[in-house]
């Protein structure tokens, strides 16, 4: 936590450090000198975690705070903390290109929250846009899906309300620290959301709501959901940014058409031209995601990146019987799987073993619950 809150330490750097040192605590203990030796991240190492951060997380309070301090502040505010690899960390989010190392959470997330759809759009919403957002969010909620949005004015707030009114669950992702709500007038709405769902942020306490933060936060909105619905958006709007994050994470993008010629329609129409799915009513979301929303599947099947935490494998690896003939194959194959989930041919070529042996090993592991196959044929490690 402390590590993640350091300026200049984003998800990528965090991942490198954790993998290199075997855990966040170990990475912190190692200190900037040893980090520098890794040569992966210029900023954090050279600044030793002190100087002005560059890039996205501008505005974070300078100065280093320990994990205990951060946790203390958060708990005082009534928030809890989830870190990478921890039980309860949203699994869908874990399988995005850059999942946040730390999530501050107010309210509660439930197991079924992976059945989520993001509903986003412009802050300058028209009456039509608001109507559609509220209606769609309500329909999605009624279908048992969790509605994710960003608590912004306009479409976002309407979507949250629509879901709440339909008696459904909704998650709000903030672009600032847990110690404030932006825009301020939505504080009561945030309270209401936290009662039945959750308010989340990746930013440490004290982070102000700067524009860059919202854009960066959009990947979390997209990452929490199986698909993103854009209701009304200008041609250069944050909602489009969310849609592109969704696409990068291999998630479905839906767009609601508007009136031709109105600026609020341009973004959605652009998405439609790029191949987004046209959405008229909530049921269509469920239809096009039917392959994911099946009983038994615990979360989304399309993995662009592998599970991250290096600790994932520690337990199973230790329990693995070595020595026998399968040992070499098992080791190589595990290594190949850790790189990223893949199909059997790809894994065989990564591991340098024939596909027959790899297929057999994967089935053995599947029966032992160590790996899991996805609908697209890729196989992944089951994170521990």
């Amino acid at each position: 936590m402390e590590l993640a809150a350091l300026p200049g330490v984003g998800p990528k750097v965090y991942r490198c450090l954790v993998e290199a040192f075997g855990g966040a605590r170990e990475a912190l203990a190692a200190g900037p000198d040893r980090w520098r030796a890794l040569r992966i991240f210029a900023a954090a190492a050279s600044e030793g975690g002190r100087a002005e951060p560059k890039g996205r997380r501008r505005g974070a309070p300078a100065g280093r705070r320990t994990g205990e301090e951060l946790l203390g502040v958060a708990e005082e505010l009534g928030w809890t903390v989830l870190t990478w690899g921890e039980e309860g960390y949203p699994p869908l989010l874990l399988h995005t290109p850059e999942p946040p190392p730390v999530l501050y959470l107010r309210g509660s997330m439930v197991r079924d929250d992976w059945r989520a759809i993001a509903v986003v759009g412009t802050r300058r919403a028209s009456a039509y846009g608001r109507y559609q957002a509220e209606r769609l969010a309500g329909e999605l909620a009624a279908e048992g899906l969790t509605v994710v949005s960003g608590l912004a004015r306009g479409i976002d707030e309407t979507a949250h309300r629509g879901a709440l009114e339909a008696g459904g669950r909704t998650l709000a992702v903030l672009g600032c620290g847990p110690d404030r709500v932006y825009p301020p007038e939505n504080a009561p709405l945030a309270e209401e959301i936290a009662e039945s769902g959750a308010v989340l942020t990746e930013f440490p306490p004290g982070t102000p709501p700067l524009p860059g933060n919202f854009l960066w936060r959009n990947r979390v909105i997209a990452g929490l959901a199986l698909g993103t619905v854009v209701v009304e958006a200008g041609e250069r709007s944050g909602a489009l940014n969310t849609a592109f994050h969704a696409n990068d994470a291999g998630r479905e993008v839906f767009a609601v058409p508007g009136e031709v010629g109105r600026p609020g329609s341009a973004g959605c129409h652009l998405l439609l031209r790029l191949g987004a799915t046209l959405l008229e009513h909530g049921g269509q979301v469920k239809e096009s995601l039917a392959h994911l929303l099946v009983p038994g599947l615990s979360f989304g099947p399309v993995w662009r990146r592998g599970p991250i935490a290096a600790a994932d494998w520690r337990s199973t690896e230790a329990g693995e019987e070595g020595g026998e003939e399968g040992g070499a194959l098992a080791g190589k194959l595990r290594h190949a799987l850790r790189e990223a989930p893949a199909r059997v041919e790809e894994l065989a070529s990564r591991a340098g073993f024939p596909v027959s042996a790899v297929a057999a090993q994967l089935v053995l592991w599947e029966l032992e619950g160590k790996v899991r196959g996805y609908a697209d044929g890729r196989v992944a490690l089951v994170p521990r």
């Binding site: 191949g275 239809e287 096009s288 039917a290 392959h291 399968g326 199909r343 059997v344 041919e345 065989a348 070529s349 024939p354 596909v355 027959s356 042996a357 297929a359 057999a360 090993q361 994967l362 089935v363 053995l364 599947e366 029966l367 196959g373 996805y374 609908a375 697209d376 044929g377």
Partner: protein, 509 residues
């Protein structure tokens, strides 16, 4: 005056003896054929009359009656033209009747007196050999006749040539032309496994299918190489032995599928009927029970591309014959058995648009469309499939790797060794492979180490294997162990067999 000559009628892939008797007697000139002639045989009258006249031979202006015996058998085909013409000329005293003895005659006539090739010569030659007769046959069918060893062949090109032959003016051509060289390799020279880039899992499934005679399902988007792989399956099978080659050639000969000048077929057939094929076209039909695609695939591979498009009744009809390796047709009074032991390969797209699960092209199907499509998979045929594998489209870079992998010959070597192991186990039951092991045989031949047993128990639970699915897994595991050269089935053999279950592949996309 009466004259007789022997000929043959085709029933399924057999030739049965038919006696052609012609009586020429005084009376009003007429020309009758009796003895249950089929339509083509009735038309024979006109061809024979024209051919005899155009060959410059006298046609008797008397009462001509042709009888085809036995009367109870329906006769089909144009091969009676020549025997009728010769017997008629003998009855009219143009040629000596004794000259027709010891000969079996088959051939079609054209109006100008030329002798045209007929189908089924291999079967007819086998009959002639069994009857100890020389075979007078169309010259265009000579190579086909030569497939059968140990009989005298007398090829004729025209009716007058045939007349000269039986008058003894021409040397009976016992001499043979050079045999056509040994036929093409299985699958043809151009179809080698090495040309398929990547698709390691697909190639492995192909190898297992070839080794154990297992039926195979290839599922994947268009252009993934389903057809390409399926076409290479024959090249992984051991070559046909002489007996099998004769059967395959006979079937093609009866179906009229041997191109002129073709001798013994030595390559395993690959048949890929289109889904618009009729039931008769697939199974065989007509009064003579002419073999269909299924029998033409005997000894080789029957490939049903886009098999979901085949109507359900067609798929259903294939089921039993494929299981038994033969096909029984009931035609009028006779039951005809046709050979039908073929390796079944099915291919299909994963969804109506074809791109479900593809990495680059998004599937454009609505979920209900996909669901409806997938419902078509179930039922007939698919429940006979032992192995299934998903193929994915390769990238351009991966396609460049073509030609670098193992060639067919290497794989065929392993297949042959695996088949030898099976043959020693199933001694005496020729042609059977692991794919047709019965449950009691499985108990006997598939010895499971304790670890394998534990693995299978867990799999039955975890994958909810049915009894049928369990036996299927055992059969495939037996083949995988045979490929590995092991008598005991090890856990990894069983595990690999589980990987190729149809249900597993179907659950993926």
């Amino acid at each position: 005056m009466l004259a007789r000559v022997r000929s043959a009628s085709l029933v399924g892939v057999e030739a049965v003896p038919v006696g052609v008797e012609v009586d020429v007697s005084p009376g009003l000139p007429c020309f009758d054929i009796v003895g249950l002639p089929g339509a083509a045989v009735r038309e024979s009258r006109d061809r024979v009359r024209a051919a005899v006249r155009n060959a410059g031979l006298p046609f008797p202006l008397q009462r001509v009656t042709v009888n085809l015996a036995p009367a109870g058998l329906k006769k089909e085909g144009a091969l009676f033209d020549l025997p009728i013409a010769l017997a008629l000329l003998a009855a009219a005293g143009v040629i000596p009747a004794a000259a027709l003895e010891g000969r079996l005659v088959a051939g079609e006539l054209s109006l100008d007196g030329a002798v045209r090739p007929v189908r089924g010569i291999v079967a007819v030659a086998l009959l002639a050999r069994a009857e100890g007769a020389a075979l007078v046959l169309p010259e265009a069918n000579l190579e086909e006749g030569e497939v059968v060893e140990g009989l005298t062949l007398e090829p004729v090109a025209t009716l007058s040539g045939a007349v000269e032959l039986v008058r003894g003016r021409r040397e009976a051509s016992g001499q043979r032309r050079a045999r056509p060289g040994p036929g093409a390799r299985n699958g043809g020279e151009e179809a080698d496994l090495a040309e398929v880039a990547g698709q390691a899992a697909g190639k492995r499934a192909l190898e297992i299918a070839a080794a154990g005679g297992h039926s195979l399902l290839l599922i994947g988007p268009p252009g993934a190489g389903k057809t390409m792989l399926a076409r290479r399956l024959p090249s992984l099978l051991p070559p046909l032995d002489r007996e099998e080659a004769l059967t395959v050639t006979r079937i093609h000969s009866v179906a009229g599928m041997l191109p002129p000048g073709t001798g013994l077929l030595t390559a395993r057939p690959f048949r890929a009927p289109h889904h618009s094929i009729s039931l008769a076209g697939l199974l065989g039909g007509g009064a003579g029970a002419c073999p269909g695609e299924l029998s033409l695939a005997h000894g080789g591979v029957l490939f049903l591309d886009e098999f979901t498009e085949f109507p359900p009744h067609v798929r259903e009809a294939l089921r039993q014959p494929l299981e038994e390796g033969k096909l029984v047709l009931c035609r009028a009074a006779v039951r005809v058995t046709l050979p039908a032991r073929a390796l079944l390969v099915l291919a299909c797209n994963p969804c109506p648009c074809g791109y479900a699960g593809d990495d680059r092209v998004a599937c454009g199907c609505r979920p209900d469309e996909v669901a409806r499509y997938r419902r078509r998979f179930s039922g007939p045929l698919l429940d006979r499939i032992d192995l299934a594998v998903r193929l994915n489209r390769l990238s351009a870079a991966e396609l460049m790797e073509a030609g670098k992998g193992e060639g067919s010959a290497l794989v065929r070597d392993r297949v042959e060794r695996a088949r030898a192991r099976q043959a020693s186990r199933l001694a005496g039951e020729e042609g059977r492979t692991n794919a047709c092991l019965r449950p009691e045989e499985l108990r006997r031949w598939v010895t499971l180490a304790p670890a394998t047993r534990r693995l299978l128990e867990r799999a039955v639970d975890h994958y909810r294997l049915s009894a049928r699915g369990y036996y299927r897994t055992l059969r495939v595991a037996r083949t995988i162990a045979d490929l590995a050269g092991e008598e005991g089935v090890r856990p990894e053999h069983a595990a690999e067999a589980l990987e190729y279950r149809v249900e597993r592949v179907m659950g993926r996309w």
